[in-house]
């Protein structure tokens, strides 16, 4: 059955000769690698989500044993009640898995791979074999990360930020091997990401089809390109820091150990110097793909395409000089804090451009509410909430109160789930037909969207309120504090929302899996889109294009007066179009 959904009659003759293992396992085809990343990261999304459910249960129903959790060993949840140390591990692993193994590969690994060559009209990545390696390096990294749960002392438990010295010294945390596995895993994953980014950058710069100038690139590709640059330059900082922390634990160095001359704050500086660009890595591709989808759904060109590009660049650039906003209360030099405050606030400006230009794109459109469009609109609606809550924290005096409270947790889920994950839902449902040659079921797609959108807000909106009341994050039992006891009701409500949210994702998974085998056969261009990828078969054959496509216009010529239909593909020659400029797209 599975073969029906994968390239067959249109497949390049050469691909046929490849044995199964070369074609689907150790494949060098960017489309297959994209799908491999998709399956891997959805699995990690599920695991991370499951960890969240355990966390939520503990906070929502602290007096009730977790149903079925008695199967967990005594070292985790005796009698179905989580131990505090296991709670810490769960929070750490939840954050880590979601950020590094779910959302980042979903955006960069999946769509970077799948979309870049197709959308720029290239046969494959610049380095197909390197591409394969970048996937097969990510897999052991994931295994290393998860194996933390099975070693003595448990998984890493110092938060996804792993602040030293708690993370550097097992005497303080009780975790030894788990923390080292965490660090190794991130260093290995870092290599995978760097190889991937090298590939994406080279491909976008070098392999654009004739006529695909920089300002004809779809915003999704712009975003992925800029993201790749951020990955390339930010991840090595984390790798370096992780290695130093690893040495602190294993060979007795003292980088972050104050008793030996080290600086605990140095870890935080390095981590956040990587970390803030990282959070933009987690949102920019989403922004780009949502731009494509909103233009398509509204049947209008993107409003202010050029400023959208410049806004992406501005966000990426500013992202390097704001890291200190995570450290306002850390004891960092307060004068430095002032500078970070201003630079952080300035990021609202390019973000505003993006938000209002999305709205401008919908304005006077003729909006088709297909499932990807619903997710894309929800992305805008939810990202804005997350972005605006960022302004509270950006104000350092306000951050005194809300730092390390659920206000932060609310913020980060609004940008990461409300933002990135909704963008991922939009993108998966949008490009699913191109990936698998079949359509996802629109009815169940809408059901999934509706429940998710509602349950998401029930889950995370009240967290702002918890934060405003001073509810700290990363605490196992808020009822220890008198001032938090009145909030138990809110916590229970959040947990109920979270359980529904989790449940709703099974609709998505069901739709995903069933459509793969039983879905309606997808036409080449189901959404009437202009992109180059829609001119080839769904799924595209090996090496994508029978002959190199030629690009005549920008990516978003919807409802152009030049043609009858309301879309005008980038590759269509209207006769009046001159060929691509004789010179290559300017570098």
């Amino acid at each position: 059955m599975a073969t029906t959904a994968l390239p067959q009659e249109a497949a390049h003759a050469e691909a046929h000769e490849l044995p199964f293992i070369r074609k689907y396992i150790f494949s060098t085809d960017h489309k297959i690698i994209g799908i491999q990343f998709l399956l891997m990261s959805l699995a990690f999304l599920g695991i991370g989500g499951f960890a969240a459910m355990l966390i939520r249960w503990q906070l929502g129903f602290p007096d009730v044993a977790i149903p079925g959790a008695t199967i967990l060993p005594e070292t985790m949840a005796p009698g179905g009640y989580l131990l505090p140390e296991f709670y810490n591990s769960l929070v750490t692993m939840h954050g880590t898995l979601m950020v590094f193994f779910a959302v980042m590969p979903l955006l960069v690994g999946v769509f970077g791979n799948f979309l870049i060559p197709l959308k720029i009209g290239a046969p494959d990545m610049a380095f197909p074999r390197l591409n394969m390696w970048s996937f097969w390096i990510a897999v052991p990294a994931g295994v290393l990360m998860l194996s933390g749960f099975f070693v003595e002392g448990g998984a890493a438990g110092a938060g996804w930020t792993s602040y030293a010295p708690l993370s550097a010294n097992s005497e303080y945390s009780g975790v030894f091997l788990g923390q080292q596995l965490w660090l190794l895993s991130l260093a290995v994953l870092g290599l995978s990401s760097i190889l991937g980014a090298t590939n994406y950058i080279t491909t976008v710069v070098n392999l654009r089809a004739p006529g695909m100038t920089w300002f004809r690139l779809p915003l999704s590709i712009w975003a992925l390109f800029i993201t790749a640059i951020l990955v390339l330059l930010a991840i090595p900082i984390l790798s370096g820091a992780a290695i130093m922390l690893f040495f602190d634990q294993t060979i007795g160095t003292h980088f972050f150990d104050a008793t030996g001359g080290g600086q605990p704050l140095l870890w935080q500086h390095l981590f956040w110097y990587f970390g803030h660009p990282e959070v933009y890595i987690l949102i920019l591709p989403g922004m780009g793909m949502v731009s494509d989808i909103i233009a398509n759904g509204s049947r209008k060109p993107v409003f202010g395409y050029h400023s959208m590009v410049y806004a992406l660049i501005a966000i990426a650039f500013l992202g390097w000089i704001v890291w200190g906003h995570h450290m306002f209360q850390s004891g960092m030099n307060p004068t430095l804090g002032m500078g970070f405050m201003i630079s952080t606030m300035l990021i609202a400006v390019p973000s505003a451009i993006k938000t209002f230009n999305w709205m401008g794109t919908m304005w006077r459109g003729s909006i088709r509410f297909h499932v990807p469009m619903l997710h894309a609109i929800t992305f805008v609606a939810m990202f804005v909430i997350g972005g605006l809550s960022g302004i509270f924290m950006a104000s350092a005096p306000v951050d005194i109160f809300i730092h390390d409270t659920y206000f932060i947790v609310a913020h980060l889920h609004y940008v990461l789930f409300g933002g990135s994950l909704f963008a991922i839902f939009a993108a998966v449902t949008y490009w699913y037909p191109k990936m698998f040659g079949r359509m996802m079921d629109p009815f169940w797609g809408k059901v999934h969207w509706a429940i998710t959108a509602v349950a998401f807000n029930v889950t995370f909106f009240p967290m702002h309120v918890l934060g405003a009341q001073g509810h700290m994050r990363r605490i196992y039992d808020p009822n220890q504090y008198e001032f938090l006891q009145p909030l138990q009701g809110t916590n229970t409500l959040i947990t109920i929302g979270a359980l529904v949210l989790f449940g709703a994702q099974f609709i998505f998974m069901g739709n995903f899996v069933i459509s793969w085998f039983k879905g309606r056969k997808a036409p080449d261009n189901p959404w009437d889109d202009n992109g180059v990828e829609w001119t080839v078969h769904s799924p595209p054959p090996h090496l994508n294009f029978a002959e190199t496509p030629v690009i005549y216009r920008a990516a978003y010529e919807y409802s152009s007066p030049l043609v009858e239909e309301d879309y005008l593909p980038q590759t269509r020659n209207l006769g009046s179009d001159s060929g691509p400029a004789a010179k290559p797209a300017a570098g």
Binding site: N88, G157, Y163, P165, Y172, A258, G262, P264, K300, V302, F303, G304, Y305, S307, Q329, S330, G331, P334, G337, M338, M341, I342, M345, A348, V349, A352, I353, M359, G360, M362, S366, F369, I377, V380, A381, I385, L388, F392, S395, A396, P397, V398, I400, F401, H403, D404, T405, A468, Q469, G470, M472, I475, D477, Q480, Y481, E482, L487, G489, T490, S559
Partner: protein, 228 residues
């Protein structure tokens, strides 16, 4: 239980709480406006411009003027907000913001307890009449106090919600945080930085006394071994 749409902060009980809260509410209003504009706009556009038979989208690539407007307004708002926040920040946390003559405390934290060393009768820290209490901070109302913070092991964070005080305590560094309580009563202290398995339990209590009561209380304490 407060309503889960209740965005108000709990009552403040220190001199600068009001300054912080004022910015918080200002941000709430600014972002509230932006929030309503965006969300209402999205819903409105979604309804008004939904595809119907015969409807054709307007072919436009944007408007420089509109973009200027929605770039400039947020830019001005955030810069103003930044400058205002900056002054308040400096008053609270700048290294020279600690008021003259503030009452000194030495605080040594470790997993998972707070050791508060008091200046004793002579009002000076490091003298023989100092005394140390575990998890109990007593301060006088209406007088600035400064806590000199040090950690023995990992990073902890002193959080007194009612005073709008939060300061991480990094091992190997000397931190100071000050505040001036405006109300008598008991206010909880929490540790706000994940510091290990007992992080949740690392609470303590501040008691704010009237000046007379505080002096009397101090006088009644026997000296204990001072902290370093």
């Amino acid at each position: 239980m407060g309503s889960f749409l209740d965005w108000f902060l709990p009552p403040g009980a220190s001199t600068f709480a009001a300054d912080i809260d004022r910015i918080y509410y200002a941000v709430l209003i600014i972002t509230g406006i932006a929030f309503v504009i965006v969300e209402a706009g999205l819903v409105w556009f979604a309804i008004k411009y939904r595809a119907r038979p015969g409807r054709k989208a307007t072919y436009t690539h944007g408007s420089m003027r509109a973009e200027m407007i929605w770039t400039a307004i947020p830019a001005v708002s955030v810069v103003a907000l930044g400058i205002w926040s900056g002054t308040v920040w400096n008053n609270i946390k700048a290294r020279d913001s600690i008021p003259e003559g503030a009452l000194e405390y030495a605080v040594m934290v470790s997993q998972f307890e707070w050791m508060f060393t008091y200046a004793g009768r002579d009002g000076e820290i490091g003298t023989a009449d100092d005394f140390t209490l575990r998890n109990q901070l007593h301060v006088p109302v209406g007088r600035a106090v400064v806590l000199r913070l040090q950690s023995e092991d990992v990073i902890h964070s002193l959080f007194i919600p009612a005073f709008r005080v939060k300061q991480d305590i990094v091992p190997g560094m000397h931190m100071a945080v000050w505040f001036e309580a405006t109300q008598t009563g008991r206010f909880e202290i929490a540790c706000a930085e994940l510091c290990g398995n007992g992080h949740t339990t690392m609470g303590a209590m501040t008691t704010v006394h009237s000046t007379a009561e505080f002096d009397e209380w101090v006088a009644s304490r026997p000296a204990t071994t001072a902290l370093r």
